[in-house]
Symmetry: D2
Subunit: 250 residues, 4 copies
């Protein structure tokens, strides 16, 4: 049994610092590195790729919408053609820093509103997947478990991987419970960890309605923005190890 | 005998159009394509790379300063570290569109203020050359004939090529006569064409002082912004052919 | 009887030129000047305000979404708080150029996706209207005839004006027929002019279903992007004058 | 006797936070608020102006170069025309938030590279001063004591004020000792405070060569980026009060 722990890194920009990259990188297996549209800049990208290499962590591109002030979290009405081009641009840019560091980029995980919109819209999902596949069809598209993003990847023959969110409740159909609904976020850390272990070991999880559903996580999204988040990554990592589950990149 | 004709392409941005790309591309051998910092956007880059492929024209990255409103023409006090990263970023981004189109990027020519500053500053020149070499050491750095840009390339073992400006006068040391001096720009089209032919055939040109100097052009910079510029490209192309000089990419 | 002719101006950006501002300004009574978010830059704004003053044309701010590459035409999921602040910022910026030129800004017309989204969403409309009223409650909000934009203005006690689109068909409820429906755009110039004259004289127009509806235009939106558009402005202006209808700013 | 304590505020941007604005504002008399070019965004500007009003602190615009990734600290080769327009734009934008909050903007202090370049270049200084005066000639230009910025203000009849840097050594001519020279920065807090008190009380300070020079500070620049800086503001404020020196805005 194995699982990937992924975290969004390299989100600083110029004089602006976000995240505890040097700390969290010790605990994860995959880093999704921002590509300069919603966060990051060329110098930050260069440093973050070097940091990932030093720590033996696999690198993925984390492309977002061109909305720095909104941190890529605001839906934008982009066309599939625009989306495909902006993904290729960002994937190429990050890829250059990987090559310069003598490593190979491993995966692509869209960010924020791009991730959420493509999770529900097969046209956008396919545009992203096509964009990636044309640049390098060995890249893995990391997307929301059970979402259109993964269907988009499959439709163009691109490898993909199921991401789960440890602290989020699921509907019976495997989609995330919307944040505005009660019970959408699971606050208790122990419960969160039990759910993750359960998903990995059994391939099942209890949905928000109480019904058990199938879910096969390839990667868990963790955060390194603050000391509390960092502590949680530590805890989940220890527990995975003690359960004999390997933490491995995709 | 042979020469490359290069032209800056893909400088449109969103709804903003610049250049007669579809016309001028028929006459040139190399296209320097803007990379989204001083001009261009991902959709324009995708289209321009496809256009170059269709016309059998070699593609080069044309990285610039992050100054869209200034079109990359304003000097910016960037550090070598910042410069290296911004070149790698832009080279990588354009490279993705080349790969997606099944072609290989051939060269890199810095734009505007980046080109001019690096022509005189070996630290900046070396930062650019290192940045390129780390991404792909088969790329050719196209820089001002006799400038530090080429010395930077040589210092890191990167291939380089001499660019000459057909309509500009040269000092005895092979540098361009500053635009503010009288005689800096040669207005007469016939004289311009004679000078170019002379440079290619003899490896020499008359400097602004009247003294003959050595100059060995690999590539001539032409423009496609307006009908007059386009007409000149046509004329120079015809004359080169009639002189038995091959027009070939670097 | 009177009518305002308004046109979007000052949409150039740095080296990028859009529009035939110097030509079209001779025929209009109000200029909506872009404010640097979806188009324009400080130098263009300064020049365009000076041009409007020279021609005795009233100036309005034309704020848009922060989406230069999309020309402000892509819907963005902004919050009312964000929208209010971005309107105040842009209104203030343009206002400074008006003051510097010794004239007073007269109106505000949101641009593109901001205009369209606020036309249907009273929360966004109110955010825009509040933002304007707090800066200067003598400004007039120019919005789509019969839309929520005008309701937003009324709800905060801001003056507003009805904009009509000469070449667009209307539904029975006074809203524009969506561009994707047949008959949405009226191509015949004579018919367009007849409709405009009819609206002004009778306060009525035939909707797309054939039923007559009430519509009381305060301002007609014209374009100056190309020679054909410019010619149409000329024609409509001549006809208005020959019908004894004054062309006056709001 | 009196002095102004000014601090750069509102430098956060979107999700990116910089500065301890809520803390430092309690100790200062003037806030220089960033205007969206080198830092800040419309929402941050709105909040920061409201914060200044609540705390009875005077507001000034803090315009910078359009270089967010470089935080406005990189010299850019802008023309006087471009500079004037970018200052008017930013002053107007901040001014709108002041009006919306029912307060009047009091001063303008250029930021970073714009401040430093204009301190040495009378053409740039005059462009800034003209830009401000045309928008509102009651604004005060706050610039480096003894610099061209103040000469620019005087040349166009704009009020100006002398800023001193508490922890920086001065040359005999009243200019700052360049940071690269030894002794440029004074590390000892007590010495810094003594120098400030001395300047205010005597109008003189010991230059780096040991010679006493005249200096008449109107405003001292303090920082609120970190707890140590905040503590220093506290200390200097207490000492000023105990010396009977009033802390008053310009």
């Amino acid at each position: 049994m194995k699982i990937d722990l992924n975290c969004d890194l390299g989100e600083s920009f110029g004089s602006y610092k976000i995240g505890m990259d040097e700390e969290v990188i010790k605990y994860i297996s995959s880093a999704n590195i921002a590509c300069g549209f919603h966060a990051s800049d060329p110098v930050v990208m260069a440093k973050t790729v070097a940091l990932a290499k030093e720590n033996g962590v696999k690198v993925g591109a984390h492309p977002g919408f061109p909305d720095l002030v909104g941190f890529g979290r605001r839906n934008m009405n982009v066309s599939p053609l625009e989306l495909k081009a902006m993904v290729q641009y960002q994937v190429g840019a990050l890829s250059a820093f990987c090559t310069a560091n003598g490593i190979k980029m491993n995966h692509v995980k869209p960010h924020g509103a791009m991730y959420n919109m493509a999770a529900k819209d097969i046209k956008l999902a396919t545009a992203i997947a096509e964009g990636i596949a044309e640049v390098d069809d060995s890249f893995i598209l990391l997307g929301l478990s059970g979402s259109e993003l993964l269907n988009g990847a499959k439709s163009v023959g691109l490898k993909c991987a199921n991401e789960v969110f440890a602290d989020r409740a699921y509907e019976e159909d495997g989609s995330l419970v919307t944040r505005t609904k009660p019970g959408a976020v699971i606050a208790d850390e122990n419960e969160v960890i039990e759910r993750v272990i359960g998903m990995i070991k059994t391939g099942r999880v209890k949905s928000v309605t109480g019904k058990e559903i199938e879910i096969r996580p390839d990667s868990i999204c963790v955060h390194g923005d603050n000391p509390k988040a960092l502590n949680f990554v530590c805890l989940i990592r220890e527990r995975l190890i003690s359960e004999g589950i390997n933490i491995e990149a995709l």
